[in-house]
Symmetry: none
Subunit: 220 residues, 4 copies
DNA sequence: TATGAATGAGCTTTCATTCAT
DNA sequence: AATGAATGAAAGCTCATTCAT
């Protein structure tokens, strides 16, 4: 599990590095400590002193690299959203659509499982986002700006394909998207935060797909 | 809208009153101010000074009635959950099950719509719960303790009925409950917080029911 | 000398009391400490911790009574300017004008000596004003607003009288006022700050009056 | 006006250059930025970061060239005082005394106007001196050391001459010097800082000279 | 010469809370 | 029941300065 977290942090660091090139060693330590503190205690309950202590760094060092505590949060979350979540969603959508060859269920399945893997990879960050989304307006706007458009677009394109294939009832895409997001988020929160334990992701995803497919399939 | 909020606060006050009888006038003012502040800014971003100012009361008055800030939060949320959410769910479940006469869809529909009305009635409180659920451990435990058991029980009983009626596939009830909660919460957050505006609740609920019913209906 | 400072502080406290009624004992201590610190080290070089320590009070106490450090400064300076400097100037001008019975020199002499006594009485405050006047815009504006108008008015009225008496050359009053202020301030700064010691105020004031009235040229 | 400031900075730079020969380009930038910042915000309200940003230079560069912030201030002010103010005063005094040929008024007039021009040429620096004189002990001592003696000497010599010429009443020179400085400074502050605008320097200086020479009493 | 990185000490201000009245 | 006064602890942040490169 520690390994998972370490690798999650490594992945987040890579995303930030890709944004701003080489990174001072202490800055890296700050980011690592901040991710852990924010994820464990939430943003408000994390003090800059906590982060500094955990990073083994002077408090002032935090502010030299990130002007404010809020900026530190954003600089951790934004690159992952912008450079990983979004591009991955777009690229993936193309690939999976191709692979699925008109099979909507297969398409959604691939996306669900891959996004689940993504969320696991960036687990601490996902936790931060879930905790702050309703309370932190900047973060909410950033996420809506990046994610809103892309998700809608991808969802719409893909749905168009499959709708044309005659497999599916006629639906407003945004409603369908909302359902999928709700089910996905509900499952993720449950299996990861509320009742962590042994979950059979494939079985659960398949069950959700049954729900969705029979729910939205054209009646014969 | 202000009327809605006023009536929501009145309803919350009633729930608290039902718990502890007559309430000192300044205490009432504190509760009112606290609900608004917590809902607007979140728990952490609300200072006791803010609450006192908004209530037109000395800061010390808050602490005469509620020993800590956290206790104030809990005393606002708990009675509503304990005295309104839970009993209503239980009672309702019985009534609706009776009325539905074996029609699972009608049963869920009644519950969805009535819970939507409930959430609207207590809108600021719902917002507080959504914001704090993942961040505030006390609140999460309290909610899980009260709601978890009841929801599971109600859901299970009702589902048992309807399952016996042969209408529905065989499902683990907790999974079905999770789906319904996910869809419900997803819709509520969207229509109330993310994209408030004109939503046709009945149509949306019916669509969700289509999804659920065709999704889980036994294939013929 | 300590006695002088004590009495100066007492006088300043009285002015503040007259503005805002009864004063909490620790608040009074804060004001006393702040006056001394500001006068001794200047505003910027005085930390709120210094004031708190000197007052034997928690730092937070300062901010409970005065929201900001700057507000503390203004609340010390403003009442004295507004309630003592200004009214005194106005009242005095009337009295002295009467007493002088058309003798401009006697009039100015009385004012100079009385203002010198005033400045001594409020010595620490005068020092604060001199130090901050050019650097602190709020303070400068406040002083200009209160003092500017009154001084000009008083000076103009008095000068009108004496000019009519035929004693004095025709002069723009503001220029004459500026000269008098320059000479007065120059003398005060010199005898109080730059070269404190034994000064014969009456002799110096008389010499200034000679200068003003007759200049330095030998009479032919 | 920007031209004036630019030329003022150029003049100050020249004075520093004269002290220490060739100057590294970034050092020059630091000096320029520091003068502007100190004059605009005062010494305390100017951070080294502000200076560095304005100069387009790293903060550390400031400290490579000037060991402390205070040293930077002094290195800006001192050369102008030492190499320009003082020598000019001394030289000028000789020249003007010669030119005035025993006419004290003409002598003072020449000095007043030339010093006014000097103050304008070094306007930002003069502002810095006025702001810091009472608050910064080092600066005050430096100024007193350089200026005090010279002014007294020049004033005394000149006054001796003119007193011998029988033109002037017998006066303690320091008192006369103080009056002239007070009037001069009072005029400068007024016309430059408090009420900038169109001032007729020659007329104002002549009026001051009238005051000094003949006072304001009507000649009989 | 010039700087990016780092920091210890200190800043003003805010916080939830206590207590005497 | 209600509060004005007071506070210890801690918050986020800034400062002038150092140092390795």
């Amino acid at each position: 599990m520690d390994n998972n977290i370490d690798s999650a942090i490594g992945a987040i660091l890579d995303a930030i590095l890709a944004e701003e090139g080489r990174m001072a060693p202490k800055k890296r330590l700050v980011v690592e400590a901040a991710i852990l503190c924010f994820a464990e205690h939430g943003y408000d309950a994390t003090s800059t002193r906590m982060i500094a202590d955990r990073a083994g760094v002077a408090e002032a060092t935090i502010f030299r690299h990130f002007n404010t505590k809020k900026a530190l949060l954003m600089r951790i979350v934004e690159p992952v959203v912008k450079r990983l979540l979004i591009p991955a969603v777009e690229e993936e959508a193309g690939v999976f659509r191709e692979q699925a060859k008109g099979d909507y269920r297969a398409f959604i399945r691939a996306i669900f499982l891959s996004r689940l893997a993504f969320a696991d990879r960036y687990a601490p960050l996902i936790r931060i986002i879930l905790q702050e989304y309703l309370v932190n307006e900047d973060l909410r706007q950033m996420l809506n700006a990046y994610a809103g458009g892309v998700l809608a677009k991808v969802s719409q394109e893909a749905f168009g394909d499959f709708f044309a294939s005659g497999e599916i009832k006629d639906f407003p895409t945004d409603r369908l998207l909302r359902w999928k997001l709700s089910l996905f988020a509900g499952y993720y929160i449950n299996r990861t935060i509320l009742a962590p334990g042994d979950w059979d992701d494939e079985a659960e995803v398949d069950a959700m797909l049954d729900l969705i497919m029979y729910g939205i399939a054209k009646e014969k």
